[in-house]
Amino acid sequence: MSDPTPRTAVPNLIITEDNKFFFDAAREGRLEIQRCADCGELRHPPGPACPKCRSFNWDTIEASRKATLHSYTVVHHPPDPSLTYPLAVGLVDLPEGTRLVADIEGIEPDELELGMELEVGFGEHAHGEILPRLFRPGGAA
């Protein structure tokens, strides 16, 4: 039986001791990257240990929010009520050295080009979560 009210298929965030910093910072408009407190290696997505030196000690740095488009897709089907379509989603390289996935706003799909400069901003997503969103440089709210 189908649900009469449209409901997002996006699962609730799974917030743990390892990744809470990211979502807390996003709500305040900051993009943070986890850093090994022993060897300095950055990692994303977050995890409990440094894959390079296996240390459990970590802190975070605030990223510049500069980004370069590494790859992208434009999703058409099936649509989710929490997003608008066609939906461009990008995988970006951050100058800090990690990557990030986020949806792209304010750029027509046919204007997307690998290697183009973008900026990481934030916006409301499913379940009211404030999460990263990609914009043209200077276009983030």
């Binding site: 298929a9 609730n12 799974i14 590494h70 790859s71 897709t73 089907h77 099936p78 996935v101 949806d103």
Partner: protein
């Protein structure tokens, strides 16, 4: 040859019809396919003493054993990662049989994936569990990467950009599969081939993936019976000897979204599995006479051709264009029509086709002698593969 190579064989295959609405329970589909495979092997139901399944299988061994009156199971194991692990239950079965833990191990996969929960519709029910297994969804699902097609699209685009492959190059896989399916009365797309224009005109799902780059969604079940090679030789069908069976997880792998590696269009877990194929069997890719390459989405066929070393990096489009994958080509693939054409039974229908190729009973049986057939699981998730060989 080493380890389990040559010690076990697939002696029976069975399936239900492949449909869009089976009209019966998944449990019944599992039971029907198991009985069909045992009948094919000419092994009594009461002789089954092991089962190896997907973790995603909704019909547990305990339920099928009860329904079919299988008195005792001494071995039961489960493999995660859906179609990526498709060949791994066969590895489990071969391990159990060759170690003497069990004598007759059944592998099955049965679901109403079209009339029930559709994987293409969004995250599966288990995606909503609050655990480390599903934590990776934090980084893709909220942004709209909700389906496997959307999650694979980054790799496909990077691959196209790097090597000049086009949507039509992906479409060639779809056209070939539908040509093979058109000859297969069991295929959903029996007598319904497509042209490259059909592919190019099919609607975009997750650019660059079009509808006809995506496999079907199907209801149905497939089962396999694994016994020792010695026992298999006394059974009615020529045994499909398991010459290699392996799994692979690569560095910094994330389910469907290993986006943080240097080259996102490489699949080291597939390479890891490929290397085990050759090491276990003492064979090379040049010894593979045919292959069943997991084809939930067309780009993964190109990437697998390269990871298994059938051609160089970026050369798959030319390898395909040169006709190598045709039924009478160098490496016929997906002769049943694949999951694009026959049905989507999470790769297990492809294993059954591998057995038919070894027996010489495929509807699209190549004219050449087939000694070795590679069968692969899905990607870009943890991977698995087997080599099936004729008993010569």
């Amino acid at each position: 040859m080493s380890g389990i190579s040559g010690k076990a064989a697939i002696a029976g295959i069975g399936a239900t019809e492949f449909s869009k609405n089976s009209g019966r329970s998944e449990w019944q589909l599992a039971c029907e396919s198991v009985l069909a495979a045992l009948e094919d092997a000419q092994i009594g139901v009461e002789e089954v003493d092991g089962m190896a399944l997907f973790t995603m299988e909704n019909n547990p061994e305990i339920a099928v054993a009860r329904a079919l009156g299988i008195p005792e199971l001494k071995f039961f194991s489960r493999i995660p990662h859906g179609g990526g692990g498709a060949c791994a239950p066969v590895q489990q079965a071969a391990l159990a049989v060759s170690a003497g833990i069990a004598d007759v191990v059944v592998v099955y996969r049965a679901f109403n994936e079209r009339s029930g929960h559709r994987f293409g519709a969004g995250p599966p029910p288990f995606a909503y569990a609050y655990n480390t297994d599903q934590e990776y969804r934090n980084w893709i699902n909220p942004y709209g990467l909700l389906t496997p097609a959307a999650q694979e699209a980054f790799l496909a685009r990077t691959y196209m950009h790097r090597y000049g492959a086009t949507s039509a190059d992906f479409g060639a896989v779809s056209v070939l599969s539908r040509k093979n399916a058109a000859n297969n009365p069991k295929a959903w797309f029996y007598e319904r081939p497509i042209t490259i224009e059909d592919h190019q005109n099919s609607r975009m799902i997750a650019d660059p993936l079009r509808l006809l780059d995506c496999c079907q969604e199907s209801d149905g079940g497939v089962a396999l019976v694994i016994v020792s090679a010695e026992r298999a030789r006394d059974l009615p069908h020529p045994p499909a000897i398991i010459s290699a069976a392996a799994q692979g997880i690569g560095p910094q792998q994330i389910s469907m979204s290993s986006y943080y590696r240097d080259d996102i269009d490489k699949m080291p877990e597939v390479e890891l599995t490929a290397n085990q194929m050759w090491a276990q069997s003492g064979l090379t890719q040049n010894d593979m006479d045919a292959a069943i390459l997991y084809d939930a989405f067309t780009p993964m066929v190109l990437l697998q051709l390269e990871e298994y070393g059938f051609c160089g990096r970026g050369e798959a489009k030319d390898f395909i264009a040169d006709g190598n994958l045709e039924v009478d080509g160098r490496l016929p693939i997906n002769t049943h029509g694949g999951q694009l054409g026959e049905g989507y039974i999470h790769g297990v229908n492809g294993i059954a086709e591998g057995v038919r190729l070894i027996r010489g009973t495929s509807v699209n049986q190549p004219t050449k002698t087939l000694n070795n057939v590679l069968v692969t699981g899905g990607s870009p998730v943890p991977h698995s593969a087997i080599i099936l060989s004729a008993d010569r």
